[in-house]
Symmetry: D2
Subunit: 331 residues, 4 copies
């Protein structure tokens, strides 16, 4: 089969590096003489036949820009088969020979279901800051999100030290602790609360208080930083904040990093990862692969089934976990 | 009078550049053969005779560091005369010929009251991110706080654009709109809610919705950023968030920047401002000035009475205000 | 006179904030119902009638971007009257009612000569990192260039300290010491070599060695940073480097910051300055002002004759100069 | 054998993250009740018995700081056996049970030779921005150096675009192209000149001109960025600069990034890598390993013989190499 035209879309939560991935896919395709269009607003654009035809000037100076020039969106409709049938028809109507979907697990579920009814390649590229996709070492945006979190923790530590405070830093990650674990270690935090190890508020509170106690034995100045994954503490962080304040008598504050973690110019690793996966996804389309994801493993791209991404819970780095007690306890 | 030893302390909310100010005061003093000690934890250290004797190695590589090596704190006790009498006695006991207080309006009130009962110079240096001190064009930390806010807004705009969202960005400033006004203009926000012009939630909501309407007429893509000064919206930002979501149907999110605005390496203007004011405060002590503040006016330091800082409400820049409708409306 | 259409161009060395200025001028003009075109590549575009008609989407997310979307260039031809006559004819042909030139002294000279032969407003906006334009407190790009220089000096100081080295840091500024002076103070340098005070290599070398000597008396660790304005040392910096190495026996390195100082996202002060001056320049066109520059004075825009920019040598801040011996000597 | 005291030193070129490594080793050792001293100025301190005894306050807020608090240095003397014998005696005299050397290949050569004559563990930790050490996926400082290079390239691209220039960007890397390759791809450069593929100036010049030609066919605006590894072009970059200027007629500039690449706050990957390797090196001492290096492989630390580091030439990522023509050509 000769490939003449491919389509790209970005779906789900946006992530730094999505633009770098669009750019790489465009350039790799053009290098093979393949035209590229971009559907806007995720699957919504596919349903409405709302697309742009990329030209060189569209991707100039794009590698370093946050967000996504194709816009992103969730798309409730796409969970219904009738709409996916319409999508397949639209792809055919537009003369598309392959579709590249940059997004997370939810977007890949849609991609798989679309692949079931469309007879040309649908390829997923993992783009989410949460890194919660099995079958790939890393996801696009993950590296930048941690760097943003660490820079914020560095700033808060300045002020925590000045005042001898406890700061509870809420970071993203959905149901995975990758961002929390790495930003806690790199931020020199005292403790980290992770979905992977959280059992109950009561138990965790004991662990936190124990850590704070030990740290205060080692330091005259009792400032503390605790990193926690979003949506994890039962009842919300105000409850944890009040408990810590009451138990320790130390002024306690919450810092919710929020959406700044999704923005910003991608750090170099996300640019390189996005470039590799974007170029590789085009190769996969050319090779007529179906229902697969462009993942990265030991710095090389590889093709895995789209379903892999949801099958397993990707584990945290055990050595990092083991360091927590040794390093952050005393740090 | 020959000056042999001076003391420095940092008080109130910490601000980037406090360390640069300590360093400059130390160097300027040493250059005159004057010893320098630093009281820790604000007035608390003065009450407990808790101080460090600065040496060269303490101020090496200090100019670029956030926070304050002297720690800061509020000090309730210092509002009572008996404690201030103790403080004056401690200063005499330590052989101090002049005291430099880096802080905000609350700290200056304490400095004035101490000056009333101590017969050697007490000099204030304006250090607060809020810029809410009359008698000086700028305060130490202000420039860095805006830069931090603007970089966060830049990141959020990436994601607001990707999704066509409304973001409500909560910035610091206490009862003054300096940070909000400048970060809104520099961040290309649609609208800013300022304490200086806020009248009621009902009126302000009308103004916001009007701006959003006009902006959407000018742009296909309806993403919006609204900057608001902390603690201003009656009942909290969730109420505003719900109102905007309901009225516009656009997904609306809150971003509370919080304490990151107080941290970070000071930008160059705060380093220069801090260096000028720190060196000038030492000159003021040598000149035996009493109860005065080292302010900056048109880039030159000048001496003003400490009371000036609280007398007037410092006005926002009128031209910036006038630009709001012209520029941010359409931006 | 009713203004229907204005033109903007950027000329000379590019500076961070030029895009923010274009954006503000566009928005301020559109707010008055005025159309805006942009000539590309400075005066070259004007001579070739090469322009773009701005629309809203062109200025979206532009405030934070470095460089200039209109491109910049020097234009030798424009020094000849025949070409300026052609330019005036082109402006009339395009229906232009006013021209805004963002650039430095060279560009303003061209603007004045054009104003002599064209009977509609030509307004200059000071855009250069060097700040070497009289009649305005600051120029667009200046604040960002210093921040970039200071961040580089911070990094070099890390390594200078690790190794006890001398670093000679070459910064931009053309024939003015604004960038050098401020980046030296904010960077905690030992010494700065400025065009305003430089007399001869022999004298300056004595001053440098004297500073290094004094600093080494105060510190066990003899690392040093010397900031120097570009193109100032007779025969080039290698000569200074060799002299210092020979005289002190300390490993000496040169760091030439170069064009990174012209790039990068503008810091907030350049964005605000650019926005004020861009909006004000449009007001000046509407008010039919001729041959004038939009300057900033004490944070408010003001109109001054274009010739002012070259008349005087803008002085360095005297207090900063006086601090050099006190602060950097010992720092 | 019971370990009571270990020593750490940093040697060779400094790298961001060395401090994070010192901190982690200190904390991991203290957690086992082991005392830690630090020799200053690399092997020089070991020869002079010049060390500091670390305490908690020394490692507070150290994780984010560039440079090395132990200072670094090359040490010519250490190549002679008589001095290494003295070093071994000093270690014994100070009661040291294990030595951790953070540095590059040259430092490891010294460590191996010392291990030959000292009967307690000598462990190497790879700390160099160049990543030119076999037996470990990455070296401490490498990630930060690339990020610094990429941010500079981003800035230069702003100005290259404004003016349609060619920029030749000289990056570090010694005899390896890791920094150049990754910063070129992540910086969206047109071309990269690598030691691994460089054959002759004549051949390379043809390749560069060919790339520039192709890129200009694809873009109206002919700005170009070429990244090159330091010390690679015969006769220096001025020769390449002149050739490009002559052949293309486009204004060509050189940007030498220099020592800024060695400084700055380490990015999170270098902090995590440094923390893992620092903690692991202490484990290796406790396990009485001799003459080995703490390397990282697929994100887990592992022990390899010190000699491994010099045995092989570590290869560049083949997929990145293959992307060069596809991506940067057209970018």
């Amino acid at each position: 089969m000769s490939i003449k035209k491919i389509a790209i879309l970005t779906s789900g939560g946006d992530a730094p590096g999505m633009n770098a991935c669009i750019r790489a896919a465009y350039l790799a395709a053009r290098n093979e003489g393949i035209e590229v269009i971009g559907y806007q607003h995720g699957y919504n654009g596919l349903l409405k036949q709302d697309f742009v035809e990329f030209e060189h000037r569209d991707i100039r100076n794009l590698i370093q820009r946050g967000g996504t020039v194709l816009y992103s969106a969730r798309c409730e409709k796409f969970t219904k088969e009738e709409h996916r049938i319409k999508a397949a028809a639209n792809l055919d109507e537009a003369g598309i020979d392959g579709l590249i979907v940059i997004g997370g697990n939810g977007s890949f579920k849609g991609a798989e279901l679309l692949q079931d009814i469309w007879d040309k390649p649908v390829i997923g590229v993992p783009g989410t800051i949460d890194n919660d996709i099995a079958g790939t070492d890393y996801t696009i945006g993950y590296h930048t999100a941690i760097q943003t979190a660490v820079e914020s923790i560095d700033k808060v530590r300045d002020t925590a030290d000045a005042f001898e405070r406890i700061f509870i830093v809420d970071v993203m990650g959905r149901e995975a602790g990758f961002i929390a674990l790495n930003s806690a270690i790199a931020g020199g935090a005292d403790h980290v609360v992770l979905p992977e190890t959280f059992e109950s508020a009561a138990d965790e509170l004991v662990r936190i208080l124990d850590k704070l106690d030990q740290r205060r034995k080692n330091h005259a100045n009792s400032s503390h930083i605790i990193v926690i994954t979003e949506n994890l503490w039962p009842g919300g962080l105000n409850i944890l904040c009040d408990s810590l304040q009451t138990e320790t008598g130390i002024d306690t504050r919450i810092l919710t990093l929020g959406h700044v973690q999704r923005g910003g110019s991608p750090v170099w690793q996300d640019r390189i990862l996005a470039s590799k996966l974007g170029a590789f996804a085009v190769e996969m389309v050319i090779n007529d692969e179906r229902g697969r994801m462009a993942g990265i493993r030991h710095r090389y791209p590889e093709s895995v089934p789209l379903g892999t991404s949801r099958e397993d819970r990707k584990p945290l780095n055990h050595y990092s976990m083991s360091m927590l007690d040794k390093i952050t306890l005393l740090g």
